[in-house]
């Protein structure tokens, strides 16, 4: 039976049926929960506001790729302007949140950089005196990390001395390419840490995933079906196990009874009609913006400040990883349109706290190809390297040809991800005037890059410039902080043991509503400085296993 047939069968919801679990969102965490719950014989319905991806829509292999992808596959929903997404009020934020609604979630547009958090990420308060420790440790999570890697089909090389010893990756690391080799050369000249990139892209055929062919268009959807997203890695298995998936289903409210227990959700279906899905347990996996938005929209008159919000922390402590990039051009050809795009090399040289630097916590760097001629021209598109005050003539005419000749095929980009510390003033609230295509209030982001992040980014940019120049760079361009960089949406329903200082417990259960769970990065007490998808999926698996094991003790309405 094909996935299409299974998906169609799964979409037929039964009126007034109460299921064991309803999950909001079919992205990385929701998909993990759905697969493992269904395999345990638990009835599951997943409601996803987007649709199944159509791989024919990914333009990476076609000449118009650079023209089309900057609209159709832009990671900012406000630019994409697709009715399946909700708009975001970004008038009060330094960084735009980036996301995508659909089966596979925002990973549809991720670079597939696959990184575990480090041990110190779970002990920030104990080691560095800031923020909070996590309720569990690196060692507690590692078995789930390794299990998820096998489900996802990760390529990489074990043995990195920046991590404790671990087992082998499921697949060999992807080829490094000239870009990665040049990036590594600079690090080697400086005597700094680097390691071949680990990516959620199998280097060999794996289930529904095809081997990577280095197309280099990971960030705009993989036309090869090689980048691991859960529409290919998890959903074919989840549907076979009996999970049901309803697309174009936008959840507008989590319903509760008089005892304060969740009874299900109300969603708007593809025809604009309100429908109710009753469930014994509700799991929200709608990302660090969508999850608090839904909780704030729920609760009614009994909890006017939003559901599960007695702590007042729903929506607060938003972390988005302030990001800088350094583009470096070299005389030698680097074939810098070739993938893998996500990371050919990464560095954790400056990951841990060194107080002499003037800031706490640290950064992760990833070395990427610079892409096609339009992108590297600096003349249009994202404009990340164009100063607001720049004269347009600086990027056109003879300058255009010279910029493209110098950069195209000859350049690499180091991305610098800085750990973002939680602050209650950085938050998601409901917009008073902006609404989505169903008339529901849009989220508004209130976010300022803090002084620690500014110092962290400046230090790392200076070091990065040293590295690329040591490898022979003839031109460098810096962008910081990159406004269109809020890929990682973290912290807005923080986990912890104290109901007064956290929204959920270590298993994702809301302190106020024990049969309502959050299983996305909203629950993370701190952000680390690595790409979070690996940790998101591992935490979701850990929570799901606990839920299955404790199913007979689960309090329900």
């Amino acid at each position: 039976m094909t996935v299409e047939v299974l998906a169609d069968r799964g979409a037929r919801a039964r009126r007034d049926e109460e299921v064991d679990v309803v999950i909001v969102g079919a992205g990385p965490s929701g998909s993990v929960a759905a697969l493992h719950l269904a395999r345990a014989g638990i009835s599951v319905v997943v409601l996803e506001q987007g649709e199944w991806p159509d791989y024919a829509d990914y333009t990476g292999a076609r000449p118009e790729h650079e023209l089309v992808s900057t609209k159709l596959w832009h990671p900012n929903p406000n630019v994409r302007d697709n009715p399946n997404d909700y708009p975001v009020d970004t008038s009060t934020t330094d960084i735009n949140p980036l996301m995508f609604a659909g089966v596979g979630g925002s990973a549809t547009l991720y670079g597939a950089q696959w990184m575990h958090f480090l041990p110190s990420d779970f002990r920030v308060r104990s080691m560095d005196g800031v923020a909070e420790d996590w309720p569990f440790t690196y060692e507690d999570l590692l078995p789930y990390q390794l299990e998820i890697e096998r489900e996802v089909g990760v390529s990489g090389l074990a043995g990195d001395p920046a991590y404790p010893p671990r087992g082998a990756y499921p697949f060999p690391a992807l080829p490094m390419g000239s870009v990665g080799q040049r990036g590594a050369l600079g690090m080697e000249k400086m005597g700094w840490h680097w390691w071949p990139g680990s990516n959620a892209i199998p280097s060999e055929k794996f289930g529904e995933l095809n081997p990577c062919v280095r197309r280099g268009t990971c960030l705009t959807g993989c036309p090869e079906g090689a980048k691991s997203t859960t529409d290919r890695s998890h959903w074919p298995l989840a549907l076979k196990a009996g999970a049901r998936l309803v697309t174009r289903a936008r959840v507008k409210e989590i319903e509760t009874n008089e005892q304060g227990l969740a009874t299900g959700v109300v969603y708007v279906d593809a025809n604009g009609r309100d429908r109710r899905q009753r469930a014994k347990v509700v799991i929200v996996c709608a990302n660090g913006v969508g999850t608090p938005r839904l909780l704030l929209m729920s609760g009614g008159s009994r909890t006017p400040d939003g559901l599960a919000n007695s702590s007042g922390l729903v929506g607060k402590r938003l972390m988005m990883h302030p990001f800088a990039s350094v583009l470096a051009s070299y005389e030698d050809p680097l074939d810098s349109w070739r993938g893998p795009f996500g990371q050919q090399v990464y560095s954790l040289e400056f990951y841990e706290t060194d107080e002499s630097r003037g800031f706490v916590r640290g950064s992760k760097w990833n070395c990427m190809p610079s892409g096609g001629p339009v992108g590297v021209s600096g003349a249009t598109g994202s404009k990340v390297y164009v100063a607001e005050s720049g004269r347009f003539q600086d990027f056109w005419g003879a300058n255009l040809h010279e910029n493209v000749a110098r950069r195209f095929g000859h350049s690499l980009i180091w991305g610098i991800v800085g750990e973002d510390l939680p602050e209650e003033s950085n938050q998601v609230v409901l917009s008073k005037d902006l609404v989505d295509s169903d008339g529901l209030p849009a989220p508004q982001i209130v976010y300022k890059v803090n002084e620690n992040s500014n110092r962290l980014l400046k230090f790392n940019i200076d070091r990065c410039l040293e590295s690329v120049r040591a490898a022979g760079a003839i031109e460098t361009l810096v962008s910081t902080p990159v406004r269109e960089s809020g890929w990682h949406l973290i912290g807005t329903t923080v986990m912890g043991d104290d109901p007064k200082r956290s929204v959920v417990d270590q298993w994702g259960a809301c302190h106020d509503v024990p049969n309502l769970y959050v299983m996305d990065a909203s629950t993370f007490p701190t952000s680390g400085a690595t790409n979070p998808t690996a940790t998101i999926m591992a935490v979701a698996l850990r929570n799901t296993r606990r839920m299955i094991g404790e199913r007979r003790n689960q309090k329900v309405a």
Binding site: A61, E64, H65, E66, L67, V68, K71, D81, P119, S120, F122, R123, S126, M127, D133, Y138, E139, P161, A162, P164, F171, P172, A173, L174, P175, M176, Q181, A184, E188, G191, H193, W194, W195, S203, E204, P211, V213, R214, R215, E224, P333, W337, R338, Y351, G372, P373, V374, S377, A379, T380, G381, F392, Q393, W396, G397, L400, H401, A405, F408, G409
Partner: protein, 135 residues
């Protein structure tokens, strides 16, 4: 001035001949421009305003005016110009761009960093992480 001539004048100012590279209108016709606009219908309103600016002034002055007074139109004109130009097979040949190509490889091939000693240097520099047992 026709729409075609109005746009080509702007595009040739933005992308003139330089060294081995041809100017816009040497490699792209207006049919190519219309094809690009069909890929990006969202740009059509701004594009229409952009080519309607007073043709009595020179291309640079018109672009200067658009850049200051109608950023959406300026963005539409420049986006269509540069994307259409770099879609041209002749231009791609000149800059050595095959497009986002398929590059087969042997996943089991030994990578150079394993044989030239460079990764060995990283390992030799020792542990980077901070252990947390007991914390």
């Amino acid at each position: 001035m026709s729409n075609e001539n109005a746009f080509l004048a702007l595009a040739d100012f933005l992308i003139p001949a330089h060294g081995k590279m041809p100017k816009f209108s040497d490699v792209c016709g207006y049919a190519d421009v219309e094809k690009s606009l069909d890929f990006r219908v969202d740009l059509k309103p701004g594009f229409a305003r952009g080519i309607a600016v007073d043709p009595g002034t020179g291309a640079e002055a018109r672009l200067e005016s658009l850049n200051k007074e109608d950023g959406e139109a300026f963005s539409a004109i420049t986006t269509i110009a540069i994307a259409t130009y770099y879609m041209s097979p002749r231009v791609r040949e000149l800059i050595g761009y095959p497009g986002q190509e398929n590059v087969p490889y042997d996943s089991k091939a030994t990578q150079i960093y394993l044989t030239n000693g460079s990764l060995g240097h990283v390992i030799a520099r020792g542990r980077k992480y901070r252990p947390t047992p007991g914390l």
